[in-house]
Each structure stands twice: as C-alpha cells, then as structure tokens.
Amino acid sequence: MSSESKQILTTDGIPLEVSLKKAERKNKIKAFLLVAPLLLFLLITYIFPIGDMLMRSVDDKMVTQMLPKTFESMETWDGKELPPEEVFEAFYLDYKKLIEEKTFGKLSTQLNYTKNGFKSILKKLQRKMKKFEEGNYKEQIMAVHPRWENVEYWRAIKRRAPAYTSSKYLKGMDMYVNEEGKIVNVAEDRRVHRILWIRTLEVAFFVTLLCFLMAYPIAHLLATLPMKYSNLLMICVLLPFWTSLLVRTASWMILLQQQGIVNDFFVMTGLVADDARPEMMYNKTGTYVAMTQILLPFMVLPLYSVMKTISPSLMRAGKSLGGTPFIAFWKVYFPLTIPGIGAGCLLVFILAIGYYITPALVGGASGTLISNQIAFHMKSTLDWSFASAMGLMLLTGVLAIYWIYNKLVGVDNIKLG
C-alpha cells in the first residue's frame, strides 16, 4: 500500500520504473545482439555436439527398429528357456526384411557388440534362409547353427530391446549387464578401461604436480627479476608455447629414444652402459616428460600473473617482523599465491586428463590415456556411441573435479590474469 502511494512519477506522469525500463530496453537489446553471435557459436559448436554425444551414448534404437516384431513377441518370454515359436517366426520375418533392405550387416555388428559370435551365425542364417520353408521356423533356425539353440544368444537379443541403454557407460568401466540382468565386472584379464582411467588420473595428477614444482620457481623469478631479464625468461617460457604441439612432441622423440641425444649423453658420461640404455619413450616416462614440458606454460602464466601483484614489501614486512625467510615465504607469500596455484593446477589437470596427441606419439602401450582409447573407437572400431559415452564420462570427471575444487578453494579465487 505504502509503496503504491509513494510511487514516483516522471515529469510526464509515467511511473519512474516503467520509464527506466523503457529507457534501458534498447541497451539490453544492443548488449544481447553483441553477444548473440558468440552464443550462437557456442550453441552450435559446443552445446549441440555435447547433447548429440549424450544421445548417441545411450541411444540403442537401431536394433529396436531393426527387429520390431521380434521384440514385440519377446515381451511375454521370461528368458529362462528357449523362446517359443512366435519369437522365431518374428525374428525370421524381421531378418528377412533386413536382408531385402540390405541392412542386415549392421544388425550383426550391433548384436556382436552384445555377445561375441553373432556375426558368423547371422551370416550363416542369411545364406540358409533362402531355402526356408514356411512354418516351424524354430527348428529350421536352430538347425542352421548350434548356437541358435543356445538360450544365451536369445537373451542377448532381448537385452537390446530397450531404445535406451547404459551398457556403453558400463563398458567404459569394464562392467556389463549379465544374463540375469545384474551389473557385474568383466573378467579380470579383459579389463582395459579401468586401467586406462586410473592411469589417466595418475598421469594428470603427476603431470600437474611436476608442472607446479617446476613452474613455481620460474614464475617467481619472472615476477621478481628486473624487466631486462624477466622479458627474456618470459620468451623462453612462451617460445615452446608458440611452437606446434607436434613439433615439440617430435623433438622429445628425438631426445628420448634409445639412440637419442639424452641416452647418448648418459652413455658418453658413463652413467649407463651402452648396452643398457634406459627406455625413456613409448612408456609412461615419455608421456610424463613430454606432457610436463608441453603443459608447463599453462602453470607458469597464472602463477606469474598472481605473483606479479604481490608487493615485495610483504615479504620484507614478514622478515622485519621476525619471520625467518622460510616463515615469511610460507605464511605470507605462499598463501597469497594460492589463487594462481588453483588456476594453474585446474588448467593443467583438465588439459592433461584429456590429452591425446602426445601420449599417442610417445606413450607407447603403457603410456596411452583414455582419450587415445576414445579416438581408437572413433576411428577404428567406429563404435561412436561407446566413444561418446567415454567422452561424456571424461567430461563428467572434469566437472566433478571442478566442483570439488570449487568446494575446497572456491572458483572465485581463481586468477588467470
């Protein structure tokens, strides 16, 4: 009531608030139009692809659409024993349609993902089906190959009935849904992904740590040296940054290989025997060395920008108040650099966790990371939905790390410059 009676009017008698909104609307539209291209760009290149990835990773409609009759008839089947005749008939009709449409190959690929051994028996069925007689399809199909008599294969088909599936995510964690519909681990000797996840986290963690240990003194020097020297040092930090990633990785290959410069130097100085040159490449060591060097600037720059703002008189104050140089550093300087450390570590860790080219080139078998596995499925097996699932798992991991970081340090404290 009181606010209404106190409403302020402009000289024209329009309420002030309305007038203000009107006056600022134009500016708001202008501001929006300025960011609109970027928004659109982000939508097209970022939000849509991620959405598409998400859909792809859970999408299982292909098989559902290829075998509509089969899945309909399977609805009443309890999956304990071999399915009844209607299921066989429906499967025959569906498969026949696929053969006519010449898309049966996709089905065999898809079913083979679910259970190994489908490819050959489907091919055999396709050949034999031409001579099938009408009626009693169950026996005719079972006669094609003994595996058709195995109830597990039919269960595998039924498992593909839902249009959406989490199987790709489970596969990414070396798990699957077994015949009883329970989520279980795959056999120990076939677990590949979990090792990769752990290795990826481990490499990212140690690369971040190494980068931090090396970058801290460099950034400190950069921030405290006189301009003349700090500019030179800055160029030394940035020069590799401007060099192509491939060139840098290739030069590490030249340096680290068994007949490479580093090994030659070790042999020359007598550190190692000529016939016992250590392997520093095509394993984790190579990945560590090359990735640390490549990601170092991402740690140096945020640290430097934060250190630059710390007045040297603070350290002096710490010392003049009686703190030893170490205490002055630890209690005064170090806490003030935490925003930079946070930014640098987050940046390096997130970059490292998704790193691809360097581990692919110098990592060998024991130094490849999860991103290499994703690329492998994108390019070689063409299992895009699995690649998408792993990509999303990686993204979720990064977001989780970001969240934890926000809880611990606070993202507001990050300073990039």
Binding site: R316, A317, K319, S320, L321, G323, T324, P325
Partner: protein, 362 residues
C-alpha cells in the same frame, strides 16, 4: 639513566648498487635512544637506502652500522628486532587485523594469552580496538596505516623504521596521523627513524632532521635550527620558502660580509659558508624576515616594485622585483597598516644582515 646517544650509529657507510655510482656517500650518523629522527630529502637522495640498510634489506658496500654498540651488517633482518612501517602499509591481505598483529609475536613463540594481551594493547594504542577480525581490505587507508604502526610496535622493538608511511593518505588524514604517531612516540619512547620527502611532516614530528641530498647528509639538526639556520643553499631551498640573490663577496669581516649582486647593488649578509673576499655566493633570506615600510632599524634597505599580490587570508604574499630578482617573495601580515600594497607600487623592503645568510653558490 643517561640515554645512549649512539644507539644507532652509521659509521662511514657507503652504498652502491652498480659499482659505479654511490647512492650513499660516507654516511656518519648517530641516533640517540628514544629519539625521533627524520631522514628528509628529495627522491633518489639515498634516504630510503639508508633505512633499508638499517632494516637489513640492503647491505652497506663499505662501513658499518651499529645498533646499541653491536655491528649489525651480518645479522639478517629477522634477527635485528627492528619494527618497520612500509610505504604502502604491507599488511598481509589474507590475514585479519588480529593475525597481522599476532604474526611477529607468533614467530617469537609467545603464549596465546600473552599474544592476546599485547595485540589488545597495541590496538588500543592506535584506537582500533574492536577491529581484530576485520580484513585489511575492509579498512580505510588511515585505519590500515594505524594497523601497520601497531604491528611494527607490538613486539616492543628497540627501533621502529617508517618509510614514508603517510604518503598514500589525503592531506587532512596525514596531518592527524602525524600527531598521532608523534604522541605514540612520546608515550612509549621508542627510537623512531622516519623517512619522508615532505618537509612539513618532518618539521612537525621530529626531534632532529637529517636532510639528505646526493647520498650525503647536508645538515643534521633540530627542526627550528634547520629552518632558521640552514648551512647550505640546498637546505635553504629544500626547507621552507626562501629568497635568493646570487653574487660575489667584496668585503669580509667576522660576522658580516658585503655581497655585490649581479645587477651592481650591494647587500650586507651573514657569512655562513663563504670564507674570503671574491668567493661566489648565494644569499638566502626567509620571506618572513624581510619587512616592508618598517620603522625598526635594519642594515639592508631597498626599494622594490610590486609585481603580484596574492591574498592568503591571514597574510598576503607579495612578489617583488627587487635588486634584479623578480621572484622575491614577501609575507605581509594582514593588518591595516599595510593597505597600500597594490600592484606596481614601489615599496621599501628591509632586513637584518643576520638573516641574510651567505651560502655556497649552488
């Protein structure tokens, strides 16, 4: 209870950063216990370098500094027990006021209750009780300054150094802080070495002032003496206002000399740093020592033309063209007797030869 007059002693201290230029030359300076001494000088005169050498952040290139008779050149800053107030306060921005003040006590391994007691006392001394849990960023400039002072004093240091501590404050605050620091000094009697380039700050606060220029102490004396009796033309120029005449000594006696100015006229002056007839000199006269139309007998009487009159409330500044110097300034108190001051008028100007100090020609 006689006070140690050489509590801090600079003994033939030289300092050079690049091996080519001496920023401090042959510095000899004794500071008495409990004294408030100010190092005053233009920027680049070496005053801050002296302070940094005393604090331990710079080492003397030559010579030795003694603190209570002990040489301290080889003692690192954190073991000197010297409090310091920095130019931009240098409060630790990530610590509360309490933590800032507790820092020097914690590193000295004081007990918690003792720390609390000392912090309380220091904060009440700068009238900031109740601000313990604020962050430095939440304080105004003046409050930050007080915290910095309290922090430099909280561990009862023997000497407190202040490096232009009031430089970042506005004029009013600066003046009130000057008195506050002076009162703190008087009440606790700590030795203070204060660095500033602001002469009025130096004059109001100090027991003694060391005027620095070109790496050397030009004059070390009490504020009044420094103003009234500058020993060379730099000090005369740097401290307060001053009218100068360049000329040559023509006649020399014990406490008077005749100076022939460039325009041919002759004035009588007080020889300070001139020795013999023929020496070149600069004669310095404080504006308030030259009077107009006075009835008192003075031995220098000249006529000058008024070039400019500036009203200042309690006094009027008058710029004269006198004896070839077009920048001769007079301060005339505003009383009815001086109402005939108008631009273009010729007036009589007189001063005592004792107040006209014949200094070095620079």
């Amino acid at each position: 209870m006689s006070k140690n007059l050489e509590f801090v002693k600079f003994d033939k201290v030289d300092k050079s950063y690049d091996g080519k230029v001496l920023v401090v030359k042959d510095l000899n300076l004794d500071i008495a216990e409990g004294e408030f001494i100010t190092m005053l000088g233009p920027s680049g005169s070496g005053k801050t370098t002296c302070l940094m050498m005393l604090a331990g952040f710079e080492t003397p290139t030559n010579g030795e500094i003694y603190l209570d008779k002990n040489p301290i050149s080889n003692i690192p800053p954190h073991k000197r027990g010297i409090g310091m107030v920095f130019q931009n306060y240098a409060l630790f921005p990530h610590m509360t006021v309490y933590e800032n003040l507790a820092f020097p006590l914690k590193v000295r391994k004081f007990q918690k209750d003792e720390i609390d007691k000392k912090v309380d006392k220091a904060l009440s001394m700068v009238s900031l009780s109740g601000f313990e849990h604020r962050m430095p960023g939440q304080l105004s400039g003046g409050q930050q300054q007080r915290v910095a002072v309290a922090r430099a004093l909280v561990f009862d240091p023997q000497v407190v150094l202040m490096d232009e501590p009031l430089g970042a404050l506005d004029k009013n605050l600066r003046e009130s802080m000057q008195y506050e620091i002076k009162h703190i000094h008087e009440s606790i009697g700590v030795t203070v070495v204060y660095v500033t380039h602001d002469q009025s700050e130096a004059l109001t606060m100090s027991n003694r002032i060391a005027v620095f220029n070109d790496g050397k102490v030009q004059q070390l004396s009490s504020p009044d003496k420094l103003y009234e009796e500058p020993v060379n033309s730099f000090v005369a120029r740097f401290i307060g206002e001053n009218n100068t005449f360049a000329g040559q000594i023509t006649d020399m006696s014990k406490d008077q000399c005749k100076v022939k100015l460039n325009d041919g006229s002759e004035i009588i002056a007080n020889p300070i740093s001139v020795k013999t007839s023929g020496d070149k000199t600069t004669v310095s006269i404080r504006p308030e020592r030259a009077l107009i139309n006075t009835k008192d007998k003075m031995d220098n009487n000249f006529k000058g033309k008024i070039e400019e009159v500036i009203y200042h409330g309690d006094h009027t500044r008058v710029r004269l063209d006198l004896l070839g110097n077009k920048e001769f300034i007079l301060k005339v108190p505003n009383s009815s007797a001086n109402m005939d001051i108008k631009m273009g008028n010729q007036i009589n100007v007189s001063w005592n030869s004792h107040d006209a100090r014949a200094l070095d020609p620079k």
